[in-house]
Structures are given as C-alpha cells and as structure tokens.
C-alpha cells in the first residue's frame, strides 16, 4: 500500500434535504489502484462518487458533514476552485453524453478551454487519449463526423477519452458499462487496468462480477453505510460480514 492515500474520507454524511444518503462513512482510497464501490440501489454509491468531485453540491438542498481530503487537503476548503478540482477528478457517467460537436472536438474541447493545447499538440493529445480509451481504431477515419453518430459503446469510450484529455489525477466512473455491449465493456475494462498506473480510479460497477474482474480493492455499501472494505480476493472469498457475503453471492441486490 502506498504511504499516502489519494483520498481520506472521514465520518462523511451526506443529506439531500432531510433524507440521508450517506451515513458516517470513513474510507481511504489509495493512489494508482482501482477501487470498486458496490452496493444495491439507493446505497449511496453514486452520492459518494459525486461528493468526491463536488458534483453533489449542485443538487438543491444537498448538505454534507465530515471531511474529504485529497492529497491531504479538504476538497471543500473555501480556497479550492471547484472547476480546477473537477478537472483533476474526471468523471464518466452511466449515460454516455457526447457534446453536440464532432468526435475530435469532443476530446479537444477540454484542453482547448483551459488553454493547455494548441494546433498540432491538440491533434497529438487527441490521438493519445483516444488510443488510451481503445477508440482510436474505430474513429481515426472520421474524426470530423458528429459524435452522435457513434454507437452507445463508442460514445462511452469517447466520454472516457474526453475525461482523460484533461489529464486528471483521478477518474470516477459511475456504472460506465451498464448499457453497453460486451465488446465495449471489455475494452473499457481493459483500458482501466492499463491506466491505473497513471490514475487513481474509483468505479461504481453495474454488477458484482465487474467489480470482481477489474478491482484491486472493493468497498461494499448498504443503505448509506460502508459495510466492508478490503482487497478484491478477501471480499469475494472471505467476506467478514454476513451481508457482504449475501450480496456478493447474489442472495439479494
């Protein structure tokens, strides 16, 4: 285990109005590994991911208690720029949403906006991240066509590439493969395992099997509480909690 965790979450509680979505959760997320957060619907998994990049702030009536430290600094600190933070913590959503522009522009958009890239280097970095997202071979001949013309799985890989183009430190993926075909799913899973060298990856997989396939560590949540967190093998072969065991073996969920 690396000496300094990427995220330290201390006693986090998250409320939507009067409804509590996360209850007193503490969890360390190590750098350069894949953590899967699993749990049935309404367990607070999505809320946890969105608390990390502060996307949860946008929900009217949202409120949090406790602390989330990234590299030792609170992400809710008043002097933290939310937009900078979200560039460092990229996110891929359940529904692939290409922006209404060409394939190339979708990827080049972020770097251009923050003035990171110009001219030739844009084209190079677009190719680089499209390769990382295993999409380059599908689209290299039609970069100028609208992104909407891609299949669902390709769109999702495009969204993944778009996130990588901003050169983030952390990538959050919220059920990224739930609507995808097996080939696209396999491609995304494969690129994830290659990319953990460079990024810290937190995934909310759409099923337990995916968590077993891709993760180094697994955290199991139920009704807003963290039940158990351990290395992949331990969770699936020697879960400490009966509820974890019931969930990963498919007795409920």
């Amino acid at each position: 285990m690396s000496p300094q965790p990427k995220f330290v979450i201390k006693n986090l509680s998250f409320y939507y109005g009067g409804k509590r979505a996360i209850h007193d959760l503490s969890l360390d997320i190590a750098a350069n590994e894949i953590l899967s957060v699993i749990g049935p619907a309404n367990s607070g998994v999505t809320t946890l991911l969105r608390a990390l990049n502060r996307l949860g702030d946008l929900v009217p009536g949202a409120r949090m208690e406790g602390e989330i430290l990234m590299d030792g600094k609170s992400v809710y600190d008043p002097d933290v720029s939310v937009t900078e933070l979200r560039r460092k913590i990229g996110m891929v959503f359940e529904v692939p949403t290409p922006l209404p522009m060409s394939i190339f522009d979708n990827v080049a958009y972020g770097p251009r906006l923050i003035g990171k890239a110009n001219g030739k280097s844009v084209a190079e970095s677009v190719e680089r991240v499209l390769r990382k997202a295993a999409l380059w071979d599908d689209v290299k001949d039609r970069l100028k066509t609208p992104a909407m013309s891609l299949s669902g799985g390709q769109q999702q890989r495009l969204c993944f590439a778009r996130v990588l183009a901003l050169d983030p430190e952390v990538v959050l993926l919220d059920r990224p493969c739930s609507g995808l075909d097996p080939i696209s799913t396999a491609k995304i899973e494969e690129s994830l395992s290659q990319l953990k060298e460079q990024y810290t990856i937190v995934v909310a997989p759409h099923n337990v099997q995916q968590a077993a396939r891709i993760s180094d560590r697994v955290a199991f949540m139920l009704t807003g509480s963290l039940i158990e967190e351990n290395r992949n093998v331990e969770i699936f072969s020697r879960p400490k909690d009966q509820r974890t065991s019931d969930y990963v073996t498919g007795r409920f969920g």
């Binding site: 996307l55 979200r86 560039r87 996130v163």
Partner: protein, 281 residues
C-alpha cells in the same frame, strides 16, 4: 356495434379536422382569386417592385411597403431577440425559484395584452419620447420596432426556454464534471445543443412581427415612401390593408388582396424555414 362506434369516432374527428384545414383552403383561394387580376393587369414585377402607390391614378407599387415590413421586422428582431434569449437563459439557469414564479406569469401576461393596447401605449409614450429625445416625427420605424420587439418577447422567451429545458440533464452534468464553469457550460454546450429550438423561437417571433397590424398602424406614421433612416415613418404590408380596406373598391380592392398574397408568401417562407430548422437535428 363497438366496432362501428370506433369507426364512426374516427370519421367524426376526420371531418372536424378537415373543416379547420378547409378554412385555410377557402381563405387562400379567396385571396388569390380576388388579388390575382391586379397581377395580370399591372404585372407581378411592377406590383412588387413599383415605387408609387396611388390607387386613384391606377398606380399600384408596393415596394416601399415591403421595405417597411422588412425594416420594422428587422428592427424588432434586433431589439427583441437578444433580450428574449437572455431572458430565457436567466429563467432556466440563474433565476431562483421565487423570481421564476414571478417572471413566468408576467411574461405570459405580456403575451395576453391585446395588440391595440400596445399600439396605444406606443402612441402616447414611445412616439413622443422618440420625437422629443431622439428626433424626427416620432412616428417611425424605430417606434414600430420597439413595440414589436416587446410583443415578440413572450414568443421568443417561452419557446427558447422550453428548448433549453428539454435538453437532457446529462449535458450539463458532463460539462460541469469536465471542469467547465457555469457560463462556459451554458455558452458552449447548452446553447449549441438547444440551437434548433432557439432558432425556431426567433422565426416564430419574427413571423408574429411580420403579421402584426393593429399595434403598428398607430405608431408607424404610415407614409408610403422609402425611409431614409429609422426615424422616418413607413407603411407595412399589413397596415396598408388595414388602413385602406374600409373604402377600397374595384382595382384598388384587388391591389389590397394582392398585398395580402405577398404577405402570405412572406409568412409561408418564414414558417417553412422554422419547420425545416426544427426538424433537422
């Protein structure tokens, strides 16, 4: 029996729907029948591009009025469209819900004010203001544009707002998660995505401006001459019909119907443009 009822209800709705379409057909046939003879007599070209309108002397040129309609409409669009789009952005993205609940009904009310009231207000407020503060006779393109701009606001605002609200929630979420600021998200993701709806809003608003009669009769001055500046009075196609139809007869009346045909074509072009743009995705 049940089957018969089903069939019958379909027929009844068909007949009812047909009657509304046939109203359109009747009006079209009537206007064309009444107006066409003047095209034959004067010639389409001399009618549309003729500079002189003197029905008593058999001169029927409506070009100054076409210019009048286009200039007043353009003025209304220049003033009203940016205002309307900004207002819809405010309502969808920035307004707290308290303000929204005040703004929305207010804008709907704006759409409900009769056009004659707009015209009257323009005559006693906008026209003197222009005459005293800016110059010219007051009755002018500018006065008409201001009134029409206000009148098209509800159309532009409400349709743009609907098209922005209809965007998938994910657009905004993704853009924000990429680290875009709120304004960057609006400008470079949401507005381009809602573009077809907003363009349709603009065209429908402009269509309303082209067709408006009552309000502009009172503030335009109605002189049949090519305007030299936005402070000059003009007459539009609609006001030409509105002013003269009461006493016209014979060729004069035909010429007014022919004015209607030109107007009809103008509005049909606008409507098909709106449909074309909204259908294209």
């Amino acid at each position: 029996m049940r089957r018969f009822k089903e069939k019958l209800s379909g027929r009844i709705f068909f007949v009812l729907a047909l009657s509304s379409i046939s109203a359109l057909a009747l009006i079209t046939v009537f206007i064309v029948a009444k107006g066409a003879p003047i095209f034959v007599k004067v010639g389409v070209r001399d009618f549309v591009f003729g500079m002189s309108w003197a029905p008593g002397h058999g001169e029927f040129g409506i070009f100054p009025m076409i210019v009048g309609t286009l200039s007043v409409t353009l003025g209304a669009a220049v003033l009203g469209v940016p205002l309307g789009i900004c207002c819809s952005i405010f309502l969808t993205e920035f307004a707290p819900s308290v303000l929204k609940s005040v703004f929305r009904p207010a804008i709907q009310l704006l759409a409900g004010i009769p056009s004659v009231v707009y015209g009257f207000w323009g005559l006693i407020f906008v026209v003197p203001f222009i005459r005293d503060r800016i110059g010219g006779p007051g009755l002018s393109i500018l006065a008409g544009s201001v009134i029409l701009a206000i009148m098209i606001l509800p159309t532009v605002i409400m349709i743009s707002e609907v098209s922005i609200l209809a965007l998938p929630r994910q657009y905004k979420q993704n853009a924000l998660a990429l680290g875009l600021t709120h304004w960057q998200t609006i400008r470079s993701v949401m507005l381009p995505a809602a573009k077809s709806g907003i363009v349709a809003a603009v065209i429908l608003g402009v269509g309303r401006a082209v067709g408006e009669t009552m309000a502009v009769i009172m503030v335009l001055g109605n002189a049949v001459a090519l305007p030299k500046s936005i402070l000059d009075p003009v007459r539009t196609l609609t006001t030409n019909i509105g002013i003269e139809m009461g006493y016209a007869s014979g060729e004069h009346q035909q010429a007014l119907f022919a004015t209607g045909i030109v107007l009809f074509i103008l509005i049909m072009i606008l409507n098909s443009a709106a449909q074309f743009i909204t259908r294209r995705k």
